[in-house]
């Protein structure tokens, strides 16, 4: 069984006050034999030393990442440091930090996974991944590398992000230190029976035209239906401006069906190159079928509401000790001046369940999906613009 506690602080500059505030919210005597702290915080908390100070004061490792916003059940404002403490007498939490990742080699990721699993004395039931935001390594890069080692263990997690325009302060946090190019893993060893949920896009929001990916290279989507991506976009009415730029292209996510029996996932486009190719937030393999959708605040709230209701029903039926949710920074920003609306909604619905929960915004989500025929047959997938949640 896993026990959970949460804590938060808005205090960035007064390190002592921040640490005291966090400690005041935690019952450290009630922790189980094994404990881990999952942290989400604005980069400022790293820069002022709050995270490092917390690591010194708390009797467990702090692993997590920077974010643009996060919240726990008692606070749905966003500019805080959120801490989720998990402890258990039956489940072990093994942690590893990879060597620097450049995107040229999968070896650091594979080695980190192997180490995390090796340190388990029990069967690993799932892995929580905190990945760096790297131009050369999409979330699919991490997934593919991890899948080659972990042999069917479900992976949940996300990429670091921050509150700058170009995300230059995005960091992975590991034992109080921060890293811009390393992967931190928490391996849950022992029975946890994780249940995974996703909020994607309602089908009514999808343009009716579908395309088949005819050429791609990793996250560079080159041609759809044999023609450059730009032609496909123009065909459905998404036109470039007078300078030939596709402004706000990340507002039009793809719903991608890998045609392998698994549920479709969302991938976004970051930019369209002069050749008409789309730089995407993850791999879109050749042969996949995709449809273009559009995101607006209404869609985000609709999909979040749907996920919250499903979560609530599941918790009511099966019970739970904790909910950890990661949502995409794209959703946060699309909410414009109501940036906390999604978090507030989730908390409002889950208040009735009265259990510890944390929501952290990420730069890319990692969560397994089921197959269309068998929801229990999980496949690890990377997502964009998605709200994912795990219930333990």
């Amino acid at each position: 069984m896993i026990k959970a506690q949460t804590a938060f602080t808005f205090e960035v500059d007064d390190v002592e006050a921040a640490v005291a505030e966090i400690k005041e919210q935690l019952d450290l005597e009630a922790l189980g034999e094994n404990a881990i702290g999952i942290i989400g915080a604005l980069p400022a908390f790293l820069q002022t030393g709050v995270v490092a100070a917390l690591q010194e004061e708390l009797p467990f490792n702090l692993v997590g990442k920077t974010t643009i916003a996060s919240s726990v059940q008692d606070s749905d404002d966003s500019d805080q440091l959120s801490l989720l403490v998990l402890s258990s007498n039956t489940v072990e939490f093994t942690t590893t930090l990879s060597e620097p990742i450049t995107g040229d080699s999968t070896e650091p990721i594979e080695a980190a996974c192997a180490t995390a699993i090796d340190h388990c004395t029990k069967t690993p039931s799932f892995i929580l991944a905190h990945a760096p935001l790297l131009p050369a390594a999409s979330s699919d890069f991490f997934i593919k590398s991890m899948n080659s080692v972990i042999e069917g263990v479900p992976v949940f997690g996300g990429l670091a992000v921050d509150d700058t325009l170009d995300y230059h302060d995005s960091q992975v946090i590991y034992n109080g230190e921060s890293y811009g190019d390393r992967l931190a893993l928490i391996c849950f060893c022992g029975e946890t029976n994780p249940r995974f949920f996703l909020a994607t896009i309602t089908y009514g929001k999808v343009f009716s035209e579908t395309g088949v990916v005819t050429s791609s290279e990793g996250s560079l989507l080159k041609t759809i239906n044999g023609a450059p991506v730009s032609e496909f976009l123009k065909g459905i009415g998404i036109q470039p401006n007078k300078d030939g730029e596709f402004i706000g292209i990340n507002t039009y996510p793809y719903l991608v069906d890998y045609n392998d029996g698994s549920e479709p996932v969302i991938k976004i486009m970051y930019a369209v190159t002069p050749e008409g190719y789309a730089v995407c937030g993850g791999d879109i393999p050749e042969g996949a079928t995709l449809s273009v959708s559009y995101f607006d605040a209404g869609e985000i709230m609709e999909s979040s509401e749907a996920l919250s209701q499903r979560l609530a029903a599941d918790i009511l039926e099966k019970g739970a000790n904790v909910v950890l949710a990661y949502s995409c920074i794209g959703r946060y920003l699309t909410l414009n001046y109501e940036t906390t609306a999604e978090m507030k909604l989730l908390h409002d619905v889950l208040d009735a369940a009265d259990l510890p929960r944390t929501i952290i915004y990420t730069g890319g989500e990692i969560c397994p999906v089921g197959s269309k025929d068998d929801p229990a047959a999980l496949v690890n997938r990377a997502h964009n613009s998605t709200l994912v949640a795990v219930v333990l």
Binding site: D14, D163, T164, G248, Y252, Y337
Partner: protein, 567 residues
């Protein structure tokens, strides 16, 4: 500076840092929002354009659709309709029915129960039956007649409905479609009339040809019984042979028209298969010998003796194939083999060393009236119906036909038929031979307007010491039965003054003593439902002309009162 002042300054510095961070974040959010707003504007334009395009397409679809389409919402209130529906109802615009309900709009042309069902499915009225959830009435549709203001006449329509629902499965409304089937019905009626006309024509032609044919064949039999020299007998045999050929052609055409109209019924019974094969062998031995062809019949030892099937039709199908093999083999041999092909399955195979069939012609082999190589085969007679009939009969019997051929070398035709095996005990007594009896005290009335036919019947009955009285139409027959007693009547169909059908009706309405007389229809009308037609009209039996003597005598034997029969 005092510590208090220092603390205050430190607090202010922290506040400034906090505000600076907040400002930075807001600046980031603001810049991102600007991009979002631009894309949102573009998105709105795209969605609007797409919606407009869809709306335009939908309007065009509905405007030009030949079906009348009406949308009702989940309350049964009209939502939208095609212009054609407005025209049909003589309405100047949608405004005249806007806001009105389904019943009000459709009650004067849709059947009541159809409207009731729609209202039930929309939850607008209480459920009346256990099949409340069953939408099949809607999807199967209903026929109706309604006045069209477009055509300015009453027309026939077909209406069907589809319940509309959203992705959560909730009913959102109804799509009702009406399509005009007037022209379709007209075409169907015309086709039926044409078919009936064809059947009537065939019946007439059949009768007109078979009547003189009957006379020719009957008279040749009469002539044969007289003293003839060898030359005369030779001529007579040729007349008989040509008559038989012509009769065969007429029968083929009639059979084919029965098959086309799905009116050919199989008469299945247990029969002796080997006897059939031997009969065919004997029939074709003569033909094959005339052409100096070697004719081999190979019966597999495992072949059952008795099987269940329509012996006459099997004989007909096999005879067609054997006849073709003989016709199209100038020299060499014809092999007829019969063997089991599985449980209750028999393969009849006829292979020849004949002229063969081109590969491109094999597909058309079974097409009626189709003949190939007309120049080469100009001396070979036939209508081109034999194989078409064979294939149809085989199909009707649940079997199939196989063909393989090499042009210039020969062909192989196989009939594979499901024939359930029986035993000798299953075979009922055969009456293919004429029962030997006399009936000197029997009084038989023969009714026919053609003198020759009366002569032929008299000739046939003479050896059986049956005396006949002749009358020439139905009216005379009705009078005759009221004046004297008859034990049996042989009645033609088409006669002046009163035909056979009407005459029988009159006779059956007479007092029972007279009405119960057995009546046999003797007619050249051998089309489609002839047998059931005559028996429904009151006849006890039916014999087609040209008269099969054995069939006639045996039927008379069955129907005459037993006390009049002398064996």
């Amino acid at each position: 500076m005092s510590s208090e002042a220092q603390e205050r300054i430190a607090a202010l510095e922290r506040e400034i840092k906090k505000l600076t961070r907040a400002l930075e974040k807001e600046r980031t959010l603001s810049m991102r929002s600007r991009a979002n707003i631009d894309s949102k504007r573009l998105l709105s334009e795209i969605v609007l354009a797409e919606r407009s395009r869809l709306e335009r397409n939908m309007r065009m679809l509905l405007q030009y659709s030949s079906n009348m389409v009406i949308f009702f919402d989940d309350k049964g209130i009209i939502d939208f309709c095609a212009d054609l529906f407005l025209s049909f109802r003589g309405l100047a615009g949608f405004g005249f029915i806007k806001g009105k309900g389904l019943r009000e709009i459709t009650q004067d042309f849709l059947p009541e129960e159809f409207i009731d069902k729609i209202e039930e499915l929309l939850g607008l009225r209480p459920v009346q039956s256990a099949e409340a959830e069953d939408e099949s009435m809607l999807s199967q549709g209903t026929r109706l007649q309604a006045y069209s203001h477009v055509e300015k006449e009453a027309r026939d329509y077909y209406a069907y409905g589809v319940l509309l629902s959203n992705q959560n499965g909730l009913t959102t409304g109804l799509l009702l479609q009406l399509y005009d089937i007037t022209d379709l019905l007209r075409i169907s009626r015309n086709a039926e009339q044409a078919n009936q006309a064809k059947s009537d024509f065939l019946a007439m032609v059949s009768h007109e040809i078979r009547t003189p044919m009957s006379a020719i064949i009957g008279l040749t039999d009469l002539l044969e019984s007289t003293l003839l020299d060898e030359q005369q007998r030779g001529y007579l045999n040729k007349i008989k042979s040509s008559s038989a050929t012509m009769l065969g052609l007429i029968n083929d055409i009639l059979d084919f028209s029965k098959i086309e109209a799905n009116k050919l019924d199989l008469l299945n019974e247990y029969f002796d298969l080997k006897s059939l094969i031997i009969a065919l062998k004997e029939m074709f031995d003569v033909m094959m010998q005339k052409k100096q062809l070697t004719f081999t019949v190979a019966i597999d030892p495992a072949l059952p003796d008795v099987v269940w099937g329509d012996e006459k039709r099997i004989r007909q199908a096999l005879a067609n194939i054997l006849s073709n093999a003989c016709k199209y083999t100038p020299s060499g041999e014809v092999v007829f083999s019969i063997k089991p092909a599985g449980p209750d399955l028999i393969r009849f195979e006829v292979s020849d060393t004949g002229i063969g069939i081109k590969e491109e012609d094999i597909a058309d082999l079974f097409v009626e009236f189709k003949q190939f190589d007309l120049v080469r085969n100009k001396d070979i007679s036939g209508t081109g119906l034999g194989l078409a009939i064979t294939k149809s009969l085989t199909g009707l019997m649940g079997g199939h036909v196989e063909v393989s051929s090499t042009y210039g070398e020969g062909s192989k035709f196989s009939l594979v038929l499901p024939l359930k095996q029986g035993t000798c005990e299953d075979i009922t007594k055969e009456t293919d031979h004429t029962v030997a009896f006399t009936a000197p005290h029997a009084r038989v009335l023969v009714v026919d307007d053609v003198e020759t036919n009366l002569e032929i019947v008299e000739f046939i009955l003479e050896p059986f010491e049956i005396k006949i009285k002749r009358v020439y139409d139905g009216l005379e027959a009705v009078h005759a039965v009221q004046e004297e007693h008859f034990d049996l009547i042989l009645m033609d169909h088409m006669m002046p003054n009163m035909d056979g059908i009407e005459a029988v009706k009159h006779i059956r309405n007479l007092p029972l003593e007279v009405a119960k007389v057995p009546i046999i229809a003797l007619t050249a009308n051998a089309t489609l439902d002839a047998v059931s037609w005559f028996t429904d009209a009151g006849f006890d039996a039916f014999i087609s002309k040209p008269i099969d003597m054995t069939q006639l005598i045996n039927t008379i034997y069955e129907l005459l009162p037993k006390e009049l029969i002398v064996k």
